[in-house]
Symmetry: C2
Subunit: 361 residues, 2 copies
DNA sequence: TTGTAGGCGTTATCAA
DNA sequence: TTGATAACGCCTACAA
């Protein structure tokens, strides 16, 4: 298997020792000069010049492996997603985050190592050591809700620098960054309230992911502020639906309207099921937003609905989220502790919300 | 600056020595066991098991830098793109290529390191050492046309395994993989010819990128076969347009038709300008493909036109391109030389081409 | 101001 | 079958 071959391709590459010989100084001096002389040690301008000249003549470039070995760090940040890093389907959720991760990592001088849950090195889904590969990097970012708790906990306990993207409180000691769904959802409700809406219904998926829970929390909090505690505690203010959302029908929408509801809010999820169902039901009922009722989306619309009228709601700053994760990780690496975990979502005015019908805004 | 802090954050990262202690063997033995025992040295099944267990317990992972320093390889493949690997403008995205790169790399047991071109560490655009970081990996893939020649040449001259994705002949000795635009473009012309078209016009951008040149070359070659050398040499058979393509107007289309042209071919580019212009002009002229004329696209339609009727043309197998690049790189690593550099593009029947009007196919 | 020496974590060559 | 020992190229006290 080409065991013997012309491997060791390092061949003709000059090392500091050769530069030293050519310049007539010691290898240490070369390291000092070429290393930028961090410790502010004084050296002859002469020596400096000779070394530089010799290095240029030989075309010297430092060996990154050696450099990193000596420095006890490799300037590598890991990115681990339990599913493939480049899934064909999930493209929409992770890609924008990676954009931010890459930018911030580059800005801070780190390169990225991509680990996939289903990679080789004997790292299958069930493998209890699957996560260990990330130790190769100085620290690692974790994406997705399916990262196994126990393995992650082991890394954290060992003091390995890790940051989870997405709120993750259950795992004690694990740093995370997440979108501030609570505040953003509350803001949407406040805007609707400012338009005159009092009875508002939230359509969410039947799932206890933090992302869903946080949205409901923000929704209820703001509702309590705007419409009083009774409105917020009303169980019918929040509807849990399944995927597909068979219960969100034109009839259901009409019923609600008849009961005085004037605005509907849906959460964004991977599938976009809640928003899609609401959208479809409203259209099928022959109703139109914002004239007959107001609609808002707690997140961004799925790609196939993006062409439609932009929904009122908020945008998750995914790139910013990635960048924030990198910042938190590098803060850990340099000994400083946590930076801000919550990233604010910007309100998106959109055009699916307006004053309730029969009322002048 | 965090210069002094509790750096040396290698902290808990276990090394072979600790595994050795735990397993009650020498560090050498650990290396032997964990290294896969390449030299076929015999060792007790007992020892082996103990070492493996200890390594797993400690979560041992070899240090890539040390590995590379000592053995000149670390099972890491680099991916370097001079611009961001994850650009915001989706159309420029390398994403589909990376999908293939990741899959093939995983299949061959390599992890991926993403080197971002715009990284500091003193690695700005002008920095002559920006590319040097890649030497940490066993070999590297290069993406995009803006990889600086001189630095890349240095790597190649030093014998560093590198593969460029996209044809790159100018750089002597640099291996590359690319889509076979020549053959694919020729095939499209042949199909059109088989339908009965004789006068065909190619709309391309005014750019001398290999991708454009190759398409024209294939176009002219096939045209010579099908319609004779006169047709192929006719300067009006190829139109160079700029971005935006103001010259591709409804009037221009009609003119051409009046002169006997029955089919138009556009090249795919980053911007999609040529195809978009053609598309728009034809529609504005009140014409329709394939009834009034035939259209073909040398590539895939831009995202915003993907919903329209699928154009006749070919698909660039981007994932396959990535996989081919990895194969070529690993071939270099194992001493074997070049594998096939050209990746075939599949013909896409689409539905914008048919027999010329007034003729029975 | 410069040089000497030791170590970073692995692999590889020999002895034992 | 296993264990010293010497690289690999660079960094960094510390000594001169």
């Amino acid at each position: 298997m080409a065991e013997k071959g012309p491997s060791r391709q390092r061949r003709g590459r000059p090392r500091q020792a050769e530069v030293a010989r050519l310049a007539g100084v010691s290898q240490t001096t070369v390291s000092l000069v070429l290393g930028g002389n961090k410790q502010g040690i004084a050296l002859h301008e002469d020596t400096r010049a000779r070394v530089l000249a010799a290095a240029r003549e030989l075309g010297y470039v430092p060996d990154p492996a050696a450099r990193r070995l000596a420095a006890a760090r490799n300037n590598l940040l890991g990115v681990f997603s339990f599913t493939a890093t480049f899934p064909t389907a999930v493209e929409h959720s992770y890609y924008p985050i990676l954009v931010g991760v890459e930018q911030e990592a580059a800005a801070q001088g780190y390169d990225l190592v991509l680990f996939t849950g289903s990679s080789p090195g004997g790292a299958q889904a069930g493998d209890p050591g699957a996560l260990n590969r990330v130790r190769l990097a100085d620290g690692c970012l974790f994406l997705g809700r399916h990262v196994p708790d126990d393995q992650l906990r082991k890394l954290v306990v060992d003091g390995y620098p890790a940051v989870h993207i997405g709120r993750r409180d259950e795992l004690e000691g694990l740093a995370w960054v997440g979108a501030d769904y609570v505040a953003a959802s509350a803001e949407v409700v406040r805007r609707l309230s400012a338009l005159g809406h009092r009875r508002i219904v939230l359509v969410r998926e039947d799932d206890d992911a933090p992302a869903s829970t946080d949205r409901e929390h923000g929704f209820r909090t703001a509702l309590a502020e705007c419409a009083g505690p009774r409105a917020a505690d009303d169980p019918s203010a929040v509807v849990r639906t399944t995927h597909p959302a068979d219960d969100i029908t034109p009839g259901w929408v009409r019923d609600r309207l008849a009961q005085g509801v004037t605005a509907f809010v849906a959460e964004e999820t991977d599938s976009g099921a809640a928003w899609r169902a609401l959208h479809t039901a409203v259209a099928a009922a022959g109703l139109d937003a914002p004239d007959d009722l107001s609609l808002a989306l707690l997140g961004s619309p799925p790609a196939d609905l993006a062409a439609a009228r932009p929904p009122t709601g908020f945008d998750i700053p995914r790139a910013e989220l990635g960048a924030a994760a990198v910042r938190m990780l590098t803060a850990q690496l340099s000994g400083e502790e946590h930076t801000e975990p919550l990233v604010a979502c910007g309100f998106r005015a959109g055009s699916t919300a307006g004053p309730p019908p029969g009322r002048t805004g």
